[in-house]
Amino acid sequence: MKTFAYFDSGHEFPEEIVMAAGFSPMKILGDVHQGTAAADEYLFPFFCPFARGCLSDALANSEKWDGIGVAHGCDATDHHYDMWRAHVMGVPIFWVNTPMKIDQTAQIFYRKELTRFIDNLIKQYSVKIGENELKDAIRLSNQVKSLMQQLASLRAKKDISNQDYFEMTHKAVQMPKELLVEELKTTLADWEGRGPFPAGKTPILLTGSDVTFVEYMELLDTAGLRVVRDDLSLGERYFATTIPDTADPVQALVTYSFDMPRSATRVPSDSRLEYILGALKDTKIDAVLSQNMKFCEPYAMDAVWTVPALKGRGYHVMHFERDYTPSDNQMLTRLEAFKETIQQKGGRQNV
């Protein structure tokens, strides 16, 4: 199956449309181990290192891809569309604009934008993208989301390492979906047979910038912190909600896009906080680890109000900035100290 790569920052890209066109969608995630040297030829080092990593990835691998979609997420993704058109050669690149707001005007705008994207794909690849194709793609996508929901819910009950969860969230956005469904079913059976949540681990909710390399999740596990909830796009944002099964599949995608947990690039932020609070309440956990990758401005600024808002409600919250590097052991002290502060009171703190 042909691969359609995409670059977004908060699960904005409508995978189902390229699936309907007969492609396998694959989220570009860069490779922290390869560094950003290739992109640094075009970009200054004070730009988002993840975005630079994705450009490096595209510069190295675009020949293997049949198309690239860039969806409006944060400012980095917006500007990358133009940069990639200038420097990533040999592959058609498409732009999908997504609204910041969720009002009626935004819905009308987004529907037109999705229709424009569909028309552009039909024109470029001479493919058919009709209602049936879209509905089939939505069904498959919902199957993935449903299985991911089941897997993710086991984190709070079973011994599922952060790395195991990371691996599945990674595969969810990179593997061909038909193969993925089979893998998810096998993994679900495996996870259901695992032992109970380990006594020595502290359950937390992870929020902030997306975690795109497994070493960071390993670091959290080393510190004794087990991610049982999150609102990352490489995580719950991707599968927390399913796409409505309605007669009009384009409208269903609009509704899905507006109903999913919000990222920090979207306004207003209240619904983002509501999702976090709901997740904490549902899972009965008291600790939130908020982090932003260096130069990830949306989450750095978002933390200014989400962190006090969570602390004000009595939750244990720590926020810090991290680097785009697989070796971040300097963070271990504060992660362990965070765990110590949670343990010393055995629950909520009175701030």
């Binding site: 362990e336 100290a337 701030v351």
Partner: protein
């Protein structure tokens, strides 16, 4: 209960030996390249000085950047907790601890029950740490131990605007070439560190009494600049540099 706290910092290794509630001895040495060699030597030297054998030690807790490399430790605890416990040993009602170490600086807020309520640390940057002072002392050709006293003779503080250690060093060299008085530059360096610390502290909430710990706490210039900037009394224990090790020893005694 003979308990030992080992604090393996990026620049110095510290040890504290406690027998029950009595602090028997403390010691400091450079960590250097081989942290294991450093903690083994300081442990042996200190026990020799106390005429004690290692076999009589009941518990050891390791803390600091190199804590996970102390194979003989019964447990590792972060320096955040150890500094909080150490500061309470010095002043039981302490509510805020400012620790300035070789590689990081931290602010720890302690609640009325003595728990760590909150903490903030500098982000992977030497500015506002002991390493920053070391680099500046080298540029000014002054012994680090004399830094504090010299700053008290300053007629004014030179403005050091760069937050980056490397750029700040360039700024200091530029000030030297302009003929700026060394004491004024040192006072400016202290102000620069304190400004950075206060910005960091403002992310939490400072409450009195405040205890200053870590190797840099011994610098009278930093103490003075910090008290002036925060407009509060800063308490500095004689054992400021080994405060983390004392906390570790106390925790070791409580296992």
């Amino acid at each position: 209960m003979l308990a030992i706290g080992l604090d393996i910092g990026s620049i110095t290794t510290k040890i504290a030996v406690m027998d029950g509630n009595d602090l028997l001895d403390t010691n400091v040495s450079f960590t250097g390249y081989n942290a294991e060699s450093a903690w083994r030597k300081i442990l042996k030297d200190t026990l020799d000085r106390l005429q004690l054998k290692e076999s009589v030690v009941d518990r050891i807790i390791a803390t600091g950047y190199g804590r996970n490399g102390v194979g003989i430790a019964d447990k590792t605890v972060t320096e955040i907790k150890c500094h909080a416990v150490g500061a309470r040993f010095y002043m039981s009602n302490v509510r805020s601890v400012i620790d300035i170490g070789g590689q990081d600086s931290k602010f720890i807020r302690i609640d009325a029950d003595g728990n760590v309520a909150d903490f903030v640390m500098n982000d992977k940057c030497a500015a506002g740490t002991g390493r920053f002072l070391e680099v500046m002392a080298r540029a000014l050709e002054v012994e680090l131990a004399d830094f504090g006293k010299l700053s008290l003779n300053a007629r004014k503080s030179s403005a050091i605007s760069s937050m980056c250690t490397v750029f700040a060093e360039s700024e200091v060299i530029s000030l030297i070439s302009k003929g700026e008085q060394r004491e004024n530059i040192i006072a400016g360096i202290h102000e620069s560190i304190v400004n950075r610390l206060v910005s960091m502290i403002s992310r939490s909430k400072i409450e009195e009494p405040v205890v200053l710990t870590g190797g840099v706490a011994q610098n009278i210039g930093i103490q003075t600049a910090l008290a002036k900037k925060l407009q509060i009394k800063i308490r500095v224990p004689d054992t400021a540099q080994v405060n983390g090790a004392i906390g570790a020893a106390i925790l070791a005694g409580n296992i």
